[in-house]
């Protein structure tokens, strides 16, 4: 633990100097500094950096960009920057969602050719239902997410339109291509009727009312003789699928018809959410309506517009539904359908197109493909829904954002836990200090003191007591240099009461014309004792800081 320090001046026979003294082992003074500066924040391997692939660019092609005709929008959001290190232009695709969408839609387009023969029928049927429900949910997410109207009457509109379209076809013999049109007309009527209370009611009052409306439709249809209370639905409508074709051909025609419906719904989502109406409504989210209104945004009108447009679209989908299934059944209005539809929206994430489609995919997969599971599949869907609602803020597609928020929170918690008190400035103090050098000075001082505290041992004190002046061991020398460097304010000094006989310790005021103050009453009889007294006081102050 201790080593013996030999005084190098001994060869010159320095008077009264210690020839040798025990001293603590040498430790690296930079060790504390290094330990302090290494990061203690835990680094996560996943998603540590936002990584973007950099594509090569060409200076001459900087301004040639692919745009949608007739707008000036670009197909991909590409940022091009100049990299000063490589002296080249780099391109970064900021938003890759269009690429994923294109890949997914291409996969959907070729799906019927890839399905294996034995499960083709189940899979194609389920895929068709997935496409139709995706289209419905896209419209629904427009109502709930974009317009912020918590309507549960979506399936009521679809079902009513399906019944109306099937009715026109069954009773009056209208051809199949009029069915989406008559459905859309009924959707318009329903939309206007349902939108009326939406002007006055807000939030959950409206949700409960629309839920009741759905139930009303169900009970009416079940009890009405015209709409087939006896046969369990209204069937026999005209269809775009030729009945003479083979079963697989019929399935494929139905699949592509539904695919077109999904594309149309995506286009509608893009047109409503991505353009003027969506912009207006994004300006007026929940709890900020008053601000939007004060800023001159008529968000109520925009909401009603979105609602009515969506109702027309839902009506058209209902008409298509009736034409695909050759009729309509009361199960459209059942509470479970509403529940599963809401599950689809919530699992993917409210208010985004990809969420609506992915949620539909998951729910339809469990509900229609895994039929063998029986009642268990509804339990599984319920559990997924419960999990998503309890743990995820914005559905599956909000996971990334939520994870980043959580990580940032953890980081800042860590950062604030790392700021130790004592010498260093607290964060709020640091931001208000004009001279930022002060921060680093304090920090350096703190680390120096931390090191010096390790040097204060009995040997060092004993060494100083034996000879306060002259050459010392490195440990003592470091301590003394630090003490001498302290500022004048409250620095200890020795005042001579009577030369060679009595001394006393005082503290300098540090100001011209202001006398030093007496620190202690004790009178030292020799100057060496007084030196040691000052040293002990300083050591005490150091250990206390």
């Amino acid at each position: 633990m201790t080593t013996i320090w030999k005084n190098p001046h001994q060869v010159w026979h320095a008077a009264k100097a210690n020839p040798e003294a025990p001293t603590p082992d040498w430790t690296d003074p930079t060790e504390i500094w290094r330990k302090k500066r290494t990061s203690h924040a835990k680094l996560y391997k996943v998603g540590r950096l936002r990584y973007y692939h950099k594509w090569g660019g060409h200076g001459a092609k900087l301004w040639s960009r692919l745009r949608y005709w007739p707008t000036r929008r670009r197909v991909l959001d590409i940022r091009s920057e100049y990299n000063p290190k490589t002296q080249r232009v780099e391109k970064t695709i900021v938003d890759k969602r269009p690429i994923w969408w294109m890949m997914a839609l291409m996969a959907l387009a070729v799906l019927p050719m890839l399905t294996p023969g034995e499960v083709a029928n189940t899979l194609l049927g389920a895929a068709t239902i997935f496409l139709i429900y995706s289209a419905i949910n896209l419209c629904w997410t427009l109502v709930i997410g974009t317009a912020g109207i918590f309507s549960l009457a979506t399936m009521a509109v679809v079902g009513a339109a399906a019944y109306a379209a099937a009715g026109t076809s069954v009773f009056w013999g209208w051809p199949w291509w009029t069915m989406p049109l008559s459905g859309a007309a009924l959707g318009l009527v329903m939309g206007v009727i349902i939108a009326l209370p939406a002007i006055r009611l807000d939030g959950f009052y409206y949700a409960l009312l629309t839920l009741g409306l759905n139930e009303l439709c169900r009970v009416y249809v079940i009890q009405s003789k015209t709409f087939g209370s006896a046969t369990g639905g209204l069937y026999g409508a005209d269809s775009f699928i030729p009945q003479s074709a083979s079963q697989s051909t019929q399935l494929i025609i139905g699949y592509y018809g539904s695919f077109v419906v999904l594309l149309a719904a995506l286009l509608l989502f893009r047109l409503v959410n991505g353009r003027r109406l969506g912009r207006i409504l994004r300006m007026a989210p929940e709890k900020r309506e008053a601000f939007a209104e004060a800023a001159g945004v008529d968000y109520r009108k925009a909401r009603i517009h979105v609602f009515i447009i969506t109702s027309i679209a839902l009506g058209a989908i209902g008409g298509y539904y009736a034409s695909y299934f050759r009729g309509a059944s009361p199960s459209l209005f059942s509470f479970d359908t509403v529940l599963l539809g809401l599950a689809m929206l919530v699992i993917g994430g409210l208010g985004r197109a990809e969420g609506a489609v992915l949620g539909t995919l998951i729910v339809v997969f469990f509900d229609k493909v895994l039929i063998d599971l029986g009642a268990l599949r509804l339990v599984i869907i319920g559990l997924i829904m419960l999990f998503v609602v309890l743990f995820l803020r914005r559905g599956l597609f909000g996971i990334k954002e939520q994870f980043r928020t959580w990580r940032d929170k953890k980081k800042s918690e860590h950062r604030s836990a790392r700021a130790e008190k004592g010498g260093e400035m607290l964060p709020e103090e640091a931001t208000e200090t004009e001279d930022k050098d002060e921060l680093y000075l304090r920090r350096f001082d703190k680390l120096t003191r931390d090191y010096l505290k390790t040097l204060v041992t009995d040997e060092v004190i004993e060494e100083h007591r034996r000879s306060p002046l002259g050459q010392h061991s490195e440990a003592l020398e470091r301590l003394l240099i630090y003490f001498r460097r302290q500022p004048q304010v409250d620095k200890y000094a020795i005042t001579v009461i009577e030369p060679f006989k009595s001394y006393r310790i005082v503290a300098l005021s540090g100001h011209r014309g202001v006398a030093p103050r007496v620190v202690e009453e004790k009178v030292y009889t020799s100057i060496h004792d007084a030196y040691h007294g000052v040293f002990m006081r300083r050591v005490q102050d150091l250990l206390e800081s």
Partner: protein
């Protein structure tokens, strides 16, 4: 047309709907939770009552006093309802009540619970409807041309007695004071030291018990089945909505109005028009008073 019959039917329906609606109303205004699992609570309580009733039938004491069986069945329904209510609270209220967008997430969480719970009931008890034993014996009282049968009179009595007890407990006990404080201003209530989570459990147990009571009483006319909860849920929601969420008096008034509407429509127009007239009535009321008959007109609950 038998007006006495219509009147008694209306009052019976009003009592049962009032019981349901007050539960929904209290849950919404104190916890800010739209309890969509209320229907599941309802049917689960029905099954609980049915199961206990079947067990209790064999007891020797019950054979001597038939009314005792009714009391046991009612108590079993209330206890099961309260237990299910506590479970719903632990699953859908405790984890997310302080998270963002609680109202939407709470609504969907309770919907998910009702989806799962209904399937579990279906798996455990099968799809067939179960009858409950007669609760109130077999008697008849007539005032002039008004004849009160045992089931109707018993339902009216039981629901009025239990509702009065509940409301009295709400106004005269420490816990009731806490619940009412939460109904007025949840944030301020938590500031003065009322535990939000603990009060959540009380509220859900209370409203679950009310659902259980309504379930046992309604099963005199309907049967107990896994999907039986949907219609009462929607009726209760619409009565609560119409009376103003968070207001007990409003719920009572709306229950009486809708009960009369249902009894009148059923006897004059026919059963299938009940829901239509009911919703037209509700929409008309709500267009005049957007927050229900006795609802507070400004933003009642922001937190």
């Amino acid at each position: 047309m038998d007006f006495g019959f219509i009147f008694i039917t209306a009052i019976t329906l009003a009592c049962i709907y009032g019981t349901l609606a007050i539960g929904i109303s209290i849950t919404w205004s104190s916890l800010g939770l739209v309890n969509m699992a209320y229907g599941f609570t309802f049917s689960a309580a029905g099954f609980g009552a049915w199961y206990v009733g079947r067990l209790a039938q064999d007891l020797p004491l019950v054979a001597d006093y038939p009314l005792l069986l009714g009391a046991i069945v009612i108590a079993a329904g209330i206890v099961t309802g309260a237990l299910v209510g506590v479970m719903v609270c632990a699953l859908a209220f405790i984890p997310i009540h302080d998270k963002p967008e609680f109202t939407v997430r709470g609504l969907i969480a309770t919907l998910a619970i009702s989806l799962i719970g209904t399937q579990v009931l279906l798996y455990m008890f099968g799809p067939r409807a179960k009858p409950l034993p007669t609760l109130f014996g077999d008697w008849k009282v007539s005032f002039g041309d008004i004849v009160i049968t045992a089931d109707k009179g018993g339902s009216i009595m039981a629901s009025i007695v239990l509702l009065t007890l509940t409301l009295r407990w709400m106004t005269h006990s420490r816990r009731g004071l806490e619940i009412r404080a939460m109904m007025m201003n949840p944030h301020a209530a938590s500031l003065v030291g009322i535990g939000v989570r603990r009060t959540g459990f009380y509220v859900m147990a209370l409203t679950g018990g009310l659902a259980g009571l309504a379930s046992v009483l309604l099963s005199q006319t309907y049967f107990v089945s896994p999907f039986a909860g949907l219609t009462p849920l929607i009726k209760g929601l619409s009565v609560a909505l119409c009376g103003g969420l968070g207001s007990v008096q409003g719920a009572v008034i709306a229950a009486v109005i809708l009960g009369f509407n249902e009894a009148l429509t059923a006897s004059f127009l026919g059963g299938q028009y009940v829901l239509i007239t009911q919703f037209l009535l509700i929409i008309a009321i709500i267009l005049v008073r957007p927050r229900g008959i006795a609802g507070i007109l400004d933003r009642a609950r922001e937190a």
